[in-house]
């Protein structure tokens, strides 16, 4: 089990030109605290939608790696999205699940991954060519090249401790988050 902020820092240190989408709750707080960037799109709601926002972005920007960082509860709400992504096979999409086996924002109730549900196995069964689980710093380090360079879609479950690091509230206004992202990615086209 890894510290979630250490894991996010290790993942995003190597992001290069990757575009990042975060799922609501802790993954949004983690990414904003560790590596804010206009190339990050933060979700504060729309539970179950993060991976598919990443799919739409990956199809629209085939030359860029798209990295979705989300939580186990968030992905469990949109499990059908694994089937949709598996069927579409976007080669430039990677999904990282920061899996604390808890619903962290609502009182740390056990999620289904604490009770035997294996998200990496589900992703493989849905057609992801690469899906694995990392529970140590060494395993995470070994998984990073595939996350950024492997033929996607890639899913990486990172087992993290059920801690709640201090929340540094990131950008809140959705329209601003969207416009900041589009201006950074598309330049003058963004207003068109």
């Amino acid at each position: 089990m890894l510290d979630r902020r250490d894991a996010v820092a290790a993942i995003l240190r190597r992001r290069g030109r990757a575009l990042v989408v975060t799922g609501l709750g802790s993954p949004t707080w983690d990414v904003a605290a560790v590596a804010d960037s206009p190339h990050n799109f933060y979700l504060w709601g729309a539970m179950g939608g993060a991976a598919v926002v990443g799919l739409g972005l990956a199809l629209a920007q085939p030359s860029r790696r798209v990295l979705v960082l989300t939580g186990d509860g968030e992905l469990l709400m949109g499990l059908g999205s694994l089937a949709t992504i598996g069927a579409e096979r976007p080669p430039n999409l990677s999904v990282v699940v920061l899996d604390n086996e808890r619903y962290g924002e609502t009182g740390m109730q056990a999620s289904h991954t604490a009770r035997g549900v294996d998200l990496a196995a589900m992703a493989r069964a849905a057609g992801f060519p690469a899906a694995s689980t990392a529970a140590t710093a060494e395993e995470l380090d070994a998984a990073l090249p595939a996350l950024y360079g492997g033929a996607g879609p890639v899913l990486l479950v990172v087992k993290v401790l059920a801690t709640q690091p201090p929340v540094r509230v990131p950008l809140r206004d959705g329209t601003h988050i969207k416009n900041r992202f589009r201006e950074a990615l598309l330049g003058p086209q963004a207003s068109g």
């Binding site: 539970m47 926002v53 799919l55 972005l57 949109g78 579409e88 329209t175 969207k178 589009r182």
Partner: protein, 173 residues
């Protein structure tokens, strides 16, 4: 039903081409059958088959982040599946173009289609989606063009509800 589906689906397809739609997300519906086939055959349209309609709302938000316009095709029963995901569109002012083929509205013979069909327009409006109705095939092309313009230029969610009277009621009797 004044023209057959292969004919009026062409009107929608041509209007989507003119609106430069690059991603077509759908949950299959008999009313959209020909349109889905036209979009699949078009190399400039990326079709994405969804497991549930709410995925399409999120997908097209991602497409817009990446500079691509999309359309979401569904039947009226799918509207209810979209409710919470529409908060993404409302809060972020994402453009969203939805074309909804209606069931439970005009001569319906499957009673299970009636509740969501009757609720669809009110549900969409409650979630901040601008609802526009098409009752005749002659209004399809201008209806799609106007909805697309409002969606992508004014950054709004617009749903075009295609009447069951236009599509023709499927017979279960």
């Amino acid at each position: 039903m004044d023209e057959s589906q292969p004919v009026w689906s062409q009107y929608i397809y041509q209007a989507l081409k003119e609106a430069e739609i690059g991603q077509v997300a759908y949950v299959p519906d008999a009313g959209h059958k020909d349109l889905i086939e036209l979009c699949h055959a078009d190399a400039r349209m990326r079709t994405v088959s969804l497991t549930t309609e709410e995925e399409g709302v999120a997908l097209l938000a991602g497409a817009w982040l990446g500079g691509t316009r999309g359309v979401l095709l569904m039947q009226s029963s799918g509207v209810g599946n979209c409710i919470n995901m529409l908060s993404l569109v409302e809060e972020c002012r994402f453009p969203l173009l939805m074309i909804v083929t209606m069931r439970g509205q005009w001569g319906e013979t499957n009673p299970w289609q009636v509740p969501m069909g009757q609720a669809a327009a009110a549900v969409l409006a409650t979630c901040g989606v601008i609802v526009q109705h098409v009752e005749a095939t002659r209004d399809l092309a201008p209806g799609v063009a106007a909805a697309a313009q409002m969606a992508f230029v004014s950054n709004r969610a617009v749903a075009l509800l295609v009447s069951q009277r236009l599509i023709g009621a499927k017979k279960f009797d």
